[in-house]
């Protein structure tokens, strides 16, 4: 089987759209609510999960024939925990401010259902290359939802994108304008409603496939 066969393409693109881990399987919701109040932490979180899912998939896939079946969950956890620690330290070293904003949620990637789900459902049965593609695909599918939600929340909640002020200062009520930022957007409750809207739109667009 060639590296870029049709099946492998489907493994990669499936989770980004039709089998999206957040929108279709409704996994990883907690972190999607917690880290998306601004766009920058959402992007960093999405990339971290992508990297960790991809490499833990590869490692578990390589070990899949040697792991005793009864302790497989513990082995998986050790691999994921090691990768999370590496990513967490890299974030602290290079993007310290975002790492502070994400606080415990980087560490909590260990408990992310998407990761354990992919390891159990995919990496334990497939080769390293397919597992790698699957991990990247699922991570990007997760990141895509995070970026959409983070974009809307930061724009409406803070009036900015990636920290740059989009809505002019003169439009604000304090400066004689009419506009006020929507405080609800900065709360996790609104993120839940936005994720629900994302799922709503996703199902409306992909009506045929969901039947």
């Amino acid at each position: 089987m060639s590296l870029f066969s049709k099946e492998n393409g489907a493994v990669f693109t499936g989770p980004i759209n039709l089998n999206n881990p957040v929108a279709v399987q409704v996994l990883g919701i907690c972190s999607a609510l917690a880290v998306t109040s601004q766009l920058k932490p959402a992007i960093v979180m999405g990339l971290s999960v992508t990297v960790i899912t991809a490499f833990s998939n590869v490692i578990i896939s390589l070990l899949r024939k040697t792991i005793p079946n009864r302790i497989r969950i513990i082995v998986q956890l050790v691999v994921v925990a090691a990768l999370v620690t590496i990513v967490s330290n890299i974030l602290k070293a290079y993007v310290y401010d975002v790492s502070v904003q994400l606080s415990v949620y980087v560490g909590l990637i260990i408990t992310n259902c998407i990761l354990m789900g992919r390891l159990e459902a995919f990496a334990m049965q497939n080769g390293p290359w397919e597992s790698f593609l699957d991990g990247i695909g699922n991570g990007l599918g997760y990141a895509f939802v995070l970026v959409v939600v983070g974009f809307i929340r930061e724009l409406l909640g803070f009036g900015s994108i990636l920290g740059f002020q989009i809505i002019p200062d003169s439009a604000y009520m304090d400066n004689g304008g009419l506009y006020i930022n929507n405080g609800m957007m900065t709360m996790p409750a609104m993120a839940l409603i936005l994720v629900a809207c994302f799922i709503w739109v996703h199902r409306a667009v992909n009506k045929e496939e969901n039947k």
Binding site: I180, G183, M185, M187
Partner: protein
């Protein structure tokens, strides 16, 4: 009145399926059933309950019951404004004050109805259903429970949010879990807190600034705002009963709300059990907290200020989101009263607790119903067993 009927009958084919304006069919249907009780009745199958008034007519009674509070609220807008500016412009007479309030209030009513009905009609047309009548009341309640300075575009956003997420996603009128008007207010409260609380929003700000531009001795804060800030309340008990205090537009006058309550109970629309038990619960809790030293406000005054009376009469009695079992209504209302006062007095973050108390009890209403129904089933099952 016959000419309206003739006109509607003549217009009907144009709006029916296949007609020129069939895209607006649901709108026509809404207008037709608004004027006349529809001629077709439910199919004869199983037990049926017959009532002379259908839901559009009964909904309209609630709007009629709201009228005293609306009119008083309009006058109070003008009255507070003329107090605040020391009455230097020409709107000082009672009628002038009312006209001033009318001019401030009308755009809010129009925005609330236009946005809410617009969304309802669009969704009804899209799903090929009738427009339901629930929004007649919701659209009137929304402008009454916001501060007078709430900008129109914010009301529009909050109304749209409530109609879509509190009502239509659950399946429209009669299927909603939360009272849509209260969801509107909750959205405003959490999304735009600067517009919903504090002491700058309760008196119309034209020509004045509540911080440094008002007449000496005039307070722009509500009684509950003063309580929450730990200041002495500057309004007498009579002020709070008549309603000449700053506050959300419809909620200030205890007397006007009670007239509405009498109309609702007389017409059989609202449950007197819920209204009474809400007041009992609130009074009991306020009484306990009063002599616990947690507050320095007479216990019965708690019932006349803020949105307590308005919520008890017009919000808690919503037949869709409230309890349906008769015995459950006592518990439902009682807990609303208790929760409202607990939030008000013990939580420093929320000067007013009625909105959150009713929304919380909306969640528990189906559970209360379920418990009473199950208890009843058990009781009857025991009785039915013959050895």
């Amino acid at each position: 009145m016959a000419f309206i009927k003739n006109m509607l009958d003549k217009m009907k084919p144009t709006f029916s399926e296949g007609g020129k304006l069939s895209a607006f069919g649901s709108l026509f249907d809404a207008a037709e059933t608004f004027f006349y009780v529809p001629s077709e009745t439910a199919k004869v199958r199983g037990a049926q309950i017959h009532d002379a008034i259908d839901s559009k007519r009964s909904i309209f009674f609630v709007v009629i019951a709201l009228i005293p509070a609306i009119l008083f609220g309009m006058w109070n807008i003008g009255y507070q404004h003329s107090l605040a500016i020391g009455c230097t412009d020409d709107c000082c007479g009672m009628f002038g004050q009312f006209l001033y309030g009318l001019a401030v209030m009308l755009p809010k009513i129009m925005v609330s109805y236009a946005v809410g009905l617009g969304i309802e009609v669009a969704i009804a047309q899209w799903k090929k259903e009738e427009v339901h009548e629930g929004f007649f009341v919701t659209g009137m309640l929304i402008p009454m429970i916001v501060p007078v300075n709430c900008p129109l575009w914010i009301i529009a956003i909050a109304t749209a949010f409530a109609v879509v997420f509190a009502k239509e996603v659950f399946g429209g009128t009669g299927m909603n879990i939360f009272n849509p008007a209260l969801v509107t207010r909750a959205f405003l409260f959490f999304a735009y807190p600067a517009m919903m609380s504090g002491d700058k929003v309760w008196v119309n700000e034209k020509y004045m600034d509540c911080i440094n531009g008002t007449v000496d001795g005039f307070s722009c804060a509500t009684p509950l705002g003063q309580l929450a800030a730990g200041e002495p309340v500057t309004y007498s008990a009579m002020d709070t009963i008549i309603g000449t205090i700053p506050g959300s537009i419809g909620e200030t006058s205890f007397i006007a709300i009670m007239i509405g309550a009498v109309i609702l109970i007389w017409a059989g629309i609202a449950s007197w059990k819920i209204i009474l038990s809400t007041f009992v619960g609130g009074a009991l809790m306020a009484f306990l907290l009063r002599y616990d030293g947690a507050q320095n406000f007479e216990w019965w005054e708690q019932l006349t200020v803020g949105g307590f009376a308005f919520g008890a009469v017009f919000m808690a009695t919503d037949p869709v989101t409230g309890c349906r079992v008769e015995a459950g209504k006592w518990i439902y209302g009682f807990l609303i009263g208790v929760m409202a006062i607990v939030i008000r007095v013990l939580n420093p973050g929320f000067p007013e607790g009625m909105m959150l108390a009713i929304l919380l009890m909306n969640v528990f209403a189906p559970l209360i119903d379920y418990c009473f129904v199950q208890a009843n089933i058990k009781k009857r099952a025991k009785r039915a067993i013959v050895k």
